[in-house]
Subunit: 380 residues, 2 copies
């Protein structure tokens, strides 16, 4: 089986991820931060260490500004809804995932003004278009770092600069980049960074995070037990507690920590270069094949390890089915929870078959993928 | 090590819980409901089967009315905030956890009327007091099934009847009961049932659920990718998708399913009777010890496997520390995220040391617990 669906969730995970999760569950699977006994304290301490590890990866100076969530969607909802109020204006792009667009669309009904900046046919966003959209009441810019549809790498550094210069907050969706591409919240002027634990960071599902800049007072989405200031009926406003109500995914967070440790040990550059090599070769070869349409910038300087394609007018689900059944190659077809992005690149009707590579994919697997596309396109 | 902190999280889990999680992670850890390949489909199918298994446990007729969340706190937030609007009145009790009280207190600031019915010194709630509190604009009653502080079993069947007769919705917090005590949403007139996956249901942390009665149109808290109706910028209103945005905790849900399978195989009655026996003996013996104050109804007909106690005026944290360090017994001290419940039973200043038993605790462990309390109380 060849797994080319890493943009949905990375698979497999490093062995140390599996091992650390089982170790927590079997040896000290207590409720961290709730009780004072040694099991709970050990898990609580390790969760804090994981916070430090991830903070290091993104150059977050105070780990308490990093909150754990259960997926990137929750992180984005907190970031978007926690800051915008009636009368505010938010700018986003046509390349966003529904996890950005749907919360924003829900807010639009409540009186928040929305501008959606269009990408071009390769899924690129011109930062000037964002700058031109800034108005008196603009409070927030939200963009993805890397499109989940086309793999297009967005100029977040430039957008961050624009946001800062104009006194606007910037929320980055790191769903497809965290763990593979450099993210420095300080240098890039990122006020909030949302990320999943189970994709590039190689942790398990049920984990995610949100960095919130020091002093940025955003509302929490939920309230509940935090294990802190238990005598109060009001949600505490200390971080991270304010945003982490209820029992966290203790073993999951430790697994995520192991994933990030793996990345730091291996070197994020090494992982990215490996994925770039795979992607470069794949793009070079599939673009040569008759009838194959490949989307995105088609240059690994501007496109991550996410390559969408179609063969002629073949339905993307059918192509995906053939790859699965006849070649044991796992990809994702259809619309990728990013309807405006499909409209932007012209694949709203047909969908696309998305190939997305991860650190454990090999050159041999890429060759087999290319071979499969060649064979299928001959018969299509 | 003796683990008496099962009300915080159950530990250990049945072997099949560990095994099933690892099996998913290592063999088919794809993104369920996102892609069409065999790994994703297999996980998606098994998640649906888990939905069916849990639905069976609570007599939920349509499994699609059961949504997966990441913890009980999230479930309660969705249930409470999804239904109440400005001008509505909600009734709850002084015995609730902060996961109920804090969301309600947050809503109070937005113009929702709140009545908190007081419990008695044993943590009992008189359903008549709830009935008397119902007004013209009462929309919702929220109560726990079992107090996390005193173990008091609430008369949810009677409250459900009162709610139904008065045309008021009833949300039950099953945090301490699900998996041990019978819950039948039909017979008990429960409109919404919130539960954690990692306590009595013996699943991993990072899992929970909310049953929402057919036709009860409550708002979702977050929006995002659902893998369904991906072409739309609006959150789909189909269940369970509407309430399950973003990647679910796939392996966690399968682990939860294994926990529930374990319960169904073993028999929920057998588990409860075992816990009742442990609790009965523990209460009988510790109430005899000089200087020991034990809280709750002190009768397993009315008190679950949650026994809070203090020794004289000894600080609860100190007692817990001695138990941990000298006896290797793990309990939870302090305030238990239920400030009003502490006021109700008169332990707001001292806190309590909470002993909470689970299916894997043994009679021998209970004896060691009793012996420890005896020894410490002699020296106190």
């Amino acid at each position: 089986m060849i797994y080319f669906d890493n943009a949905a969730t990375s698979f497999p995970k490093p062995e140390m991820v599996y091992d650390s999760i089982m170790k927590v569950m079997k040896e000290y699977g207590a409720n961290p931060g709730r009780s004072g006994h040694k099991l709970a304290l050990k898990l609580g301490r390790e969760i804090f260490e994981t916070r430090e590890t991830i903070a290091k990866l993104f150059n977050i100076k105070n780990p308490m500004n990093l909150i754990f969530t259960f997926n990137c969607t929750e992180s984005l909802n907190i970031g978007i809804k926690g800051i915008l109020e009636k009368g505010d204006h938010v700018i986003t792009t046509s390349m966003e995932h529904n996890s950005v667009l749907r919360p924003i669309k829900a807010l639009e009904k409540l009186g928040i003004e929305v501008t959606i900046v269009d990408g071009d046919s390769k899924g690129r966003i011109d930062p000037l278009h964002i700058e031109e959209s800034i108005k008196e009441n603009t409070k927030l810019i939200v963009t993805t770092h890397i499109s989940n549809l086309t793999g297009t790498i967005m100029p977040i550094h430039t957008i961050g600069k624009i946001a800062k210069e104009n006194g606007v907050y910037y929320l980055v969706d790191g769903a497809q980049s965290a763990g593979v591409y450099d993210i420095d919240v300080e240098k890039m002027n990122i006020d909030m960074l949302a990320f999943p634990g189970h994709k590039g960071l190689l942790g398990p599902q049920g984990t995610g995070g949100l960095y919130i800049k020091e002093g940025l007072d955003i509302r929490e989405m939920g309230q509940g037990g935090t294990g802190s200031t238990s005598h109060l009926l009001e949600q505490p406003d200390i971080r991270p507690d304010r945003y982490e109500s209820g029992t966290p995914n203790g073993p999951g967070i430790i697994g995520l920590g192991a994933g990030v440790e793996y990345i730091l040990e291996k070197g994020i550059d090494k992982i990215r270069i490996h994925e770039e090599e795979l992607t470069k070769h794949f793009i070079e070869e599939v673009t040569k094949i008759d009838k194959v349409k490949v989307y995105g910038p088609l240059d690994t300087k501007y496109q991550a390890a996410v390559v969408p394609l179609n063969i002629g007018d073949l339905d993307s689900s059918e192509l995906s089915y053939i790859l699965d059944q006849n070649y044991d190659i796992e990809v994702r077809p259809g619309l990728h929870c990013a309807p405006l992005a499909h409209k932007t690149i012209g694949t709203f009707e047909q969908g696309v078959v998305r190939f997305s590579f991860g650190p454990f994919n090999t050159h041999e697997e890429i060759e087999l993928g290319i071979k499969a596309i060649k064979e299928i396109s001959k018969e299509a």
